[in-house]
Symmetry: D2
Subunit: 143 residues, 4 copies
Amino acid sequence: MSSAIITPRTHIHRVRVEFGDCDPAGIVWFPNFFRWIDAASRHFFVTCGVPPWRETEQALGVIGTPIVDTHTRFMRTASYGDTLDIHVQVPEWRGKSFVQRYRVMRGDTTILECDEVRIFAGRREDGSIFAMPAPPQIRSLCE
Amino acid sequence: MSSAIITPRTHIHRVRVEFGDCDPAGIVWFPNFFRWIDAASRHFFVTCGVPPWRETEQALGVIGTPIVDTHTRFMRTASYGDTLDIHVQVPEWRGKSFVQRYRVMRGDTTILECDEVRIFAGRREDGSIFAMPAPPQIRSLCE
Amino acid sequence: MSSAIITPRTHIHRVRVEFGDCDPAGIVWFPNFFRWIDAASRHFFVTCGVPPWRETEQALGVIGTPIVDTHTRFMRTASYGDTLDIHVQVPEWRGKSFVQRYRVMRGDTTILECDEVRIFAGRREDGSIFAMPAPPQIRSLCE
Amino acid sequence: MSSAIITPRTHIHRVRVEFGDCDPAGIVWFPNFFRWIDAASRHFFVTCGVPPWRETEQALGVIGTPIVDTHTRFMRTASYGDTLDIHVQVPEWRGKSFVQRYRVMRGDTTILECDEVRIFAGRREDGSIFAMPAPPQIRSLCE
């Protein structure tokens, strides 16, 4: 009897690198990779059918999925004119957080790899935010 | 005979958080922390007396210090009106790379901690970049 | 009897140009000037004593001062290492809008000049925003 | 005998608005519109068949098309989840500059209109840039 091997759902988010995304060395200025990764994170959920955060805030109290940890390895540079495909997965669901994994590809070349921990965030009356358990309605859409 | 304890040089880079640095949740959108960290990285070298990269490119072939790895832990949120102090050190010099460490503080509160690996980059004739040993003239200014 | 000549209040907002603010041509990528101008706009009000927008939203229904028109002339380039002083004034108050004027200087050199029209914005129940008359409490602080 | 009416070539550049493009008021932070407009400007030339600036710099001495003037009218707000189409034209070629015009649409709704003046820039030995006449090879591709 074999154990089931579950491949987690993968979303691919395509990005064009623009002139203004590059620095005086002519390569992508690295904070821009995090702009694209954050967009890829949200599009993963959108593709799963999760409504915009402005709606989940009303319905479930979830204002978004802020990051609490990132470990990112930059393996190749990129420049304007490049098209990048960001492969996104959620390989692990934890109680009040989850791991989101990214591989940024230019064709067959890996540009960077990134593992994040994010939380589902609610907001307290005083405006501060807190981690809440992943709402089952959201998690069931994404697994 | 006691072993010397060397505390590495620390530079503090001050940042004001602006309205436009924050997202619809009202908190700093995390890629902006990397904008500030990258500026803090460069100001560390500027404060040590290292010339601008456009001059080191002429003199030493160094076009900058691109990042190859970041591990960042986001511990508290920040918002516009906050003043942040980014404490920067280089705790470790390696052959062709170095570790740069950041602690982002709002008063006594730690907002995030970040450990990076960066390289001193040169440029080949075909435009691609490569890691070179830290030039002694730069390293001696910074230790 | 002479007519009074009123010089409008001027706020100076200082900015350091960073490596990552520059593009592959080595000069400030122009959208970054608008980042700094927007920060200078807000600091003008902060310096006048106007509370943060998150507080004016509670007290006066003002969620901010979105832009409706900009006319900007880029006269000189800037690059990393430059320090820029943005001189900000409100030369004209209108019914539901105002003119905000900026001169970006590097020492005695004018880098750009910008005239904006902005509104005081409120928010409707459906989330859309609308122009409201400048609240007298705010205007009296700034004139 | 009728005079010919020439409609200038139009390129449409599509943009998705992301969460991080929006500010605490929940709407696009306006400097981001200029990021997209600058990308639309370059894609206009790319679509016409003009090579990347890194190649025109070698072949023609053109390092890019920096902006010297913008007049922009913001007519509607946009937010994350919106898809925007930026319609780009060059309605006027002048000696050493040209007018580039943008209309940002969300479906049938005009979000903003923008008229820019840009130059074809060369670089002097001292690193400063200057306006040069539009190279005929580029202009003939775009008219």
